[in-house]
C-alpha cells in the first residue's frame, strides 16, 4: 500500500470533521472518529515538523538525478 499522503490525510480530516459536525453519528463512532482524527493530525504534524529542508535535484544528461544548487545559493 502506498504511504498516506499529506494531502489525503488532510482530506480525510475534513470528512471526519463534517461527520462530527453532523451530530448524527452515535457516540461510540464519534469517539473512534475523534481518535482517528487525532492520529491524522499527529501524522500531518510530524510531516511538517520532522521534514528537513529538501535539497533540489536535477535530472542529468544520462537520466541520473543529482543535487542541484542555483547560483549564489548557500551550500
Amino acid at each position: 500500500m502506498k504511504e498516506k499522503t499529506f494531502e489525503s490525510a488532510l482530506k480525510d480530516l475534513e470528512v471526519m470533521i463534517k461527520d462530527l459536525e453532523s451530530g448524527t453519528i452515535p457516540l461510540e463512532d464519534a469517539i473512534t472518529k475523534y481518535t482517528d482524527a487525532m492520529n491524522l493530525v499527529k501524522f500531518c504534524q510530524e510531516k511538517l515538523d520532522h521534514a528537513t529542508k529538501q535539497v533540489s535535484k536535477i535530472l542529468g544528461e544520462n537520466g541520473e538525478i543529482k543535487d542541484f544548487q542555483t547560483t549564489d545559493e548557500e551550500v
Binding site: T5, F6, E7, L10, L13, M16, I17, L20, E21, G23, L27, A30, I31, Y34, A37, M38, V41, C44, Q45, K47, L48, A51, T52, K53, Q54, S56, K57, I58, L59, I65, F68, T70, T71, D72, E73
Partner: protein, 442 residues
C-alpha cells in the same frame, strides 16, 4: 570681398528644397529600432530610428499616429514608410513617418492567433480538462532553464514557503530553435517521476524569446500531461499558448511557486484549527449526550415512579367495575329466563308431555313392525346370494373341473425340488384319492 553670405535660414531652405526635389526621398521604406521615443502632448510622436551603426530622427504627426495599432516604445523593431525632409529650424534631416508597424511581430501574431484558434477548436483550453492543482504538493517538477532568474525564484520561493516539498528540475532550453522540442520532451519525461505538480516556464524576455511557449508541440505536451501543470512564462503581460493549455497560469515564475505551495505556517495553523475543531466537536457530542442522559433521568416518570402505577390502578378499577356489572347483568338475565320457563305451558300442564309421547310410541310400534318384516325378507335374499358366491370360490369346485392336489407327509407339495425319487405322495381328486411313488423328477 564680394562673396555672398547666406543666412542660416537661407541655406537650410535651399537644402530642404534639394531634399524635397529628390524623387527617391519622397517615399522611403526603413526598418530599425526605436529609441528616444517621446509622445508629445500635441499628439505628435518624436523618436529616433537606429540600427547598429547609424540613426535617423523621425517624427510622426498626430494624424498618422492615430492609426497605429500598437504603442511604440524604445527597443521595438519597426518597419516605417515616409518621406525624408529637412527641419530647417534645427538644420537636420528627418523622416516624416506615414505608416509604422512592428517588425516580424505581424507574422508571429498571425501564427499565434491561428494556433490559438485551432487548439481552442480542438478543446485543448476547455475548462473540463483542467486538473485540480493539489493543495499540498510534496514533489514538484520544474521544466525550465537550469540557469537564470526563473529557476532561482521558483526554488527559493518553494523553500521559503514549504520547505518539506521536494523539487526536481528538468533542465530545458527555453529559447532558440530547439527550445520547443526540448521543453516538450522534458514535460513528457517528467511524467515518469511520480510528481504531484509540474511548473513549466521561463523568465521574462522579448516576445521572440518566449516564442517556444507559443508552439504547438509544447501546447500538446502540456495538454497530455497527467500531472497538473502551472505555466509561468515571462511577466504578467506575456500571455502564451502554454498559458491557455496549462491547468493554471501564473504571472511569473515566483508567482507559480506561490500558487504551487502553501506556506508551512499556514498549514500548521490550519492543522491546529482542525485539531481544536475536532476536540470541540467531540466535547460537544459528549456534553450533548450527557445532557440527554440528564434530561431523561430527570424525567417525570423516573422521578415519580408511582405515576406508572397510578394509571394502571385506575384502569384495573374500571375493569373490575365493568366485570361486576356484566356479572350482575348475566345473573339478571338468567333469572328472567327461569321466570319465563316457569311460566311455560309444559310446566303448567305436565300431562301434555305424556300424551304426546304415548301417541308417538304407538306410531313407532307400527312402523317397527313393518320394517322388521321387510328386513327379514332382505336378509333371506342376501343369504341365498352368499351361498351361490361361496360355491364359486370353494376349492372343491376346482377339483370338480379336473384339478388335483398332491401332499407329502400331510404337507401340500408346490415345488418338485422338495421331493425325491421313491418318495410316497398322496394325490387327492374331486372324488377319492390315490397313493403314488415318484419315479423321476424334472
Amino acid at each position: 570681398m564680394n562673396e555672398k553670405y547666406l543666412s542660416i535660414t537661407e541655406i537650410n531652405q535651399m537644402i530642404k528644397m534639394m531634399f524635397d526635389n529628390a524623387p527617391f526621398l519622397k517615399k522611403v521604406y526603413l526598418k530599425g529600432e526605436i529609441s528616444n521615443f517621446k509622445h508629445h502632448t500635441s499628439g505628435h510622436l518624436y523618436l529616433t530610428l537606429k540600427d547598429d551603426d547609424s540613426k535617423i530622427s523621425a517624427i510622426m504627426f498626430r494624424s498618422a499616429a492615430e492609426s497605429l495599432s500598437f504603442v511604440p516604445e524604445d527597443g521595438m523593431n519597426v518597419l516605417v514608410t515616409g518621406r525624408i525632409s529637412v527641419y530647417p529650424n534645427g538644420g537636420n534631416y528627418q523622416i516624416y513617418i506615414d505608416k509604422m508597424e512592428q517588425d516580424g511581430l505581424g507574422n508571429l501574431y498571425i501564427e499565434f492567433e491561428k494556433l490559438k484558434q485551432k487548439l481552442q477548436k480542438e478543446g485543448l483550453f476547455d475548462p473540463k480538462y483542467k486538473k485540480e492543482i493539489p493543495k499540498y504538493p510534496m514533489k514538484i517538477g520544474i521544466v525550465t532553464a537550469p540557469t537564470g532568474a526563473a529557476i532561482k525564484d521558483i526554488i527559493s520561493t518553494i523553500r521559503r514557503r514549504f520547505p518539506i516539498c521536494k523539487t526536481l528540475l528538468f533542465p530545458a532550453l527555453v529559447q532558440g530553435v530547439s527550445a520547443k522540442d526540448d521543453i516538450a520532451k522534458k514535460i513528457r519525461m517528467a511524467q515518469d517521476y511520480d510528481l504531484d505538480l509540474l511548473i513549466v516556464g521561463r523568465g521574462g524576455g522579448s516576445i521572440e524569446d518566449l516564442w517556444a511557449f507559443n508552439e504547438e508541440v509544447v501546447a500538446r505536451a502540456i495538454f497530455d500531461s497527467k500531472i497538473p501543470v502551472i505555466s509561468a512564462v515571462g511577466h504578467e503581460v506575456d500571455v502564451t499558448i502554454a498559458d491557455f493549455v496549462a491547468d493554471k497560469r501564473a504571472p511569473t515564475p515566483t508567482g507559480a511557486a506561490e500558487m504551487a505551495v502553501p506556506t508551512i505556517q499556514e498549514v500548521k495553523t490550519i492543522l491546529k484549527t482542525k485539531e481544536l475543531e475536532i476536540s470541540k466537536l467531540l466535547e460537544r457530542k459528549l456534553s450533548e449526550s450527557a445532557n440527554t442522559l440528564k434530561k431523561l433521568s430527570s424525567s417525570y416518570v423516573l422521578k415519580n415512579p408511582l405515576v406508572l402505577y397510578e394509571t394502571k390502578i385506575q384502569k384495573l378499577d374500571s375493569i373490575h367495575e365493568n366485570l361486576r356489572k356484566s356479572i350482575d347483568l348475566f345473573l339478571e338475565n338468567k333469572k328472567k329466563s327461569l321466570e319465563h320457563l316457569k311460566s311455560s305451558y309444559i310446566l303448567q300442564n305436565p300431562s301434555s308431555l305424556y300424551e304426546k309421547k304415548i301417541e308417538n310410541f304407538e306410531t313407532l310400534k307400527i312402523l317397527l313392525h313393518k320394517n322388521f318384516e321387510s328386513i327379514l325378507v332382505k336378509k333371506e335374499h342376501d343369504l341365498q346370494f352368499t351361498i351361490q358366491t361361496l360355491k364359486l370360490v370353494n376349492p372343491l369346485s376346482i377339483l370338480e373341473k379336473g384339478y388335483s392336489f398332491v401332499k407329502k407327509d400331510g404337507q401340500f407339495v408346490t415345488d418338485s425340488s422338495k421331493i425325491n425319487v421313491k418318495d410316497e405322495l398322496e394325490i387327492t381328486f374331486f372324488k377319492g384319492n390315490a397313493k403314488v411313488e415318484v419315479k423321476e423328477i424334472n
